[in-house]
Point group: C2
Chain length 377, copies 2
């Protein structure tokens, strides 16, 4: 079965993922223009879309390379990009998949431990390939990254002692700044001071970072204000979501992604049930903004998904006169689009109220191999 | 690449899903024995495992058929089972996929609206296939199901007037009972009264339900106490999870499913970071039980995943002397296994500390068709 080009949404089995192509193109162009204007290298994180089709569009808009989080994403994206940053400290069997990337791919890995350096060095040496390394700094999020700049210097030194590794710079992720852009002044200033002290310490020790790679979605339009940054890795901007809009990092009209759902029950008063639950919308709360629920309707943002089961979403009708009927279609803007894309195999590209194209979420899975008797495929 | 039979866990790229085969077999046998002892028809819901391999094992243990939630699950499961209940009110394009099931499949659909009856009747008539119908009742969860028994009678009557539909019984889901089994007496008694009144009303009107299909995980071992029930549809029991254990519906030792993860960073004091975040563990809270975090370690249930990003999980080490190193493997029992299985393509079957087999989560996706110019495949 196929969906014909130009079909109405009613031809689609719900729940399914829609991307408004006009909005996607606007988002791609907007971020590319910002990067060009501010002289920042744009290395988008593909975790949001996990699709070579969108990655290729990012590269066509001037991205210097791509950022990835998993070896499977690296495998898939190597088909369209020869410059990949694994923004993740890989150890163990992950390294085998990384080293099997085409030789033409320039690979960079960010990491924060001597163990990760040693494992990466051994794998790179065995594979006979150069791997560039960013030393990851903790600038306040307290997730990964070294917290003391002496430790950053020690890691940079270790990398230089472990050819074919190459020390290429530093990376950071200011995920602790969740305020809307207009309220970020104090935290951005503190971030700039911390980052400058790290750059100076590394430079004084002979490890001046060639690249300073950082940024996050809430801060994305102020990345140029962070002293020292040369490269940024935005992900969410291609599609945006309810959180991005609520914190003011995009307008509601920039939300390109929605989940098409069907009203399947109105039997319980005060609510309508749609066929998009936690297996279609994820269960991510809004962060950095007030607001309840697991998503809001694109055309009626006052109507939210207030409760979910795995395959049921409950639309709260208590604040609206709207009374949908069984069979009606709705579009839900999820709270966190990266999680929702990860739940889909296919994206439908739409323009207006028509389906124009589709593409696979080809970097969605983890490409885990099967178990078999050795020698038997 | 393959994983050889008998490989240690260290051969696996993390994060990945493990199922302890001994525990799975114990869980399958235990529920089958309960059903046989109490004279209940066992129609397990495959939403938890989404794998024909596990479904076939359930059928081998005496299941009368399978319960499914989506048309894609129906498609896949029709390869191993000829008796499927879609416990979901299907309308719209879903019906096309349902009607394309092999003719040999006996299909039942539960629904709660005249619209769903009319659409199903039209589709069944066009396809020339009999479809059995359960009328869904709301017995207190307030999700789907009719709340007034007169409405149930009207739906049953409508079904009998819409050949080739056949009225086959009623269905309910007591998802509002989240207490541990020992604390369910009052709610179970109220449920029994409500259900009996529905059965009596339908019977008096000439629509005695041939099947009364219900039950839920928290109440599963007390299903036989619910007056009138003939069939139950447990799902989670095959794997179990942290919630099932915490509410007392299984023992911790019955948790067959875990996510294997690698410690990737210990740079921030007081925590260790693993490579299983919200894209590997979901973000489901514990329900019906106290307890924080998004999952707990199988071998150290006092260590929980306290924070997550998409690909990072933060192990809180504040209540343990254990200090893992980068590269160490851990196994996380997630809060809600059904959501986590939905994130995986492959399950590794393990016995003890060895990998014995693997199987695909072959009913995971939604089998959405691509968009193409009509006539061009």
């Amino acid at each position: 079965m196929i969906i014909p080009v130009g079909a109405p949404f009613s031809a689609l089995e719900t729940p399914c993922a829609l991307v408004d192509l006009d909005r996607l193109e606007g988002n791609l162009a907007g971020m590319a223009a910002y990067a060009a204007r501010e002289g920042l290298s744009l290395r988008p994180h593909i975790k949001t879309h996990k699709a070579t089709r969108v990655a290729a569009a990012q590269l066509a808009h001037g991205a210097v390379g791509l950022t990835i989080a998993t070896p499977a994403e690296a495998q898939v994206m190597s088909a369209v990009c020869g410059d990949l940053l694994l923004a993740y400290p890989a150890v163990g069997p992950k390294l085998g998949k990384l080293m099997a990337l085409p030789e033409s791919v320039r690979l960079t890995v960010s990491l924060d431990s001597a163990r990760a350096v040693e494992e990466l060095a051994a794998a790179a040496k065995a594979a006979g390939r150069t791997v560039r390394v960013y030393v990851e700094l903790d600038v306040g999020m307290h997730r990964v990254g070294v917290t003391a700049w002496d430790d950053a210097i020690a890691l940079a030194r270790l990398v230089t002692e472990r050819a074919p590794l190459e020390y290429a710079g530093i990376a950071f992720y200011p995920g602790h700044i969740r305020e809307e852009p207009a309220s970020q002044d104090a935290k951005l200033a503190a971030l700039g001071v911390a980052l400058r002290s790290a750059i100076d310490a590394l430079t004084d020790a002979g490890f001046a970072p060639g690249v300073v790679s950082g940024g996050s979605t809430p801060t994305v339009w102020r990345t140029h204000e962070i002293d020292g940054v040369t490269e940024f890795r935005p992900g969410t901007y291609v599609y945006n979501d309810r959180t991005t809009a609520e914190i003011g990092a995009c307008a509601w009209e920039d939300c390109a992604f929605s989940v098409l759902a069907t009203v399947v029950s109105t039997s319980v008063p005060g609510q309508a049930v749609i066929d998009a639950g936690a297996k279609a919308l994820g269960r991510e709360p809004l962060r950095g903004a007030d607001g309840e629920g697991w998503g809001a309707l694109l055309d009626r943002p006052d109507v939210v998904v207030s409760r979910m089961s795995e395959e049921h979403g409950i639309l709260d009708l208590s604040r609206t006169d709207w009374r949908p009927q069984v069979g009606d279609l709705v579009r839900v803007v999820p709270n966190h689009v990266c999680i929702v894309v990860h739940l889909n195999d296919v994206i439908y590209g739409v323009r207006g109220d028509r389906v124009e194209t589709s593409w696979p979420v080809d970097a969605r899975g983890r490409a885990h191999p099967a178990v078999a008797v050795e020698g038997v495929a």
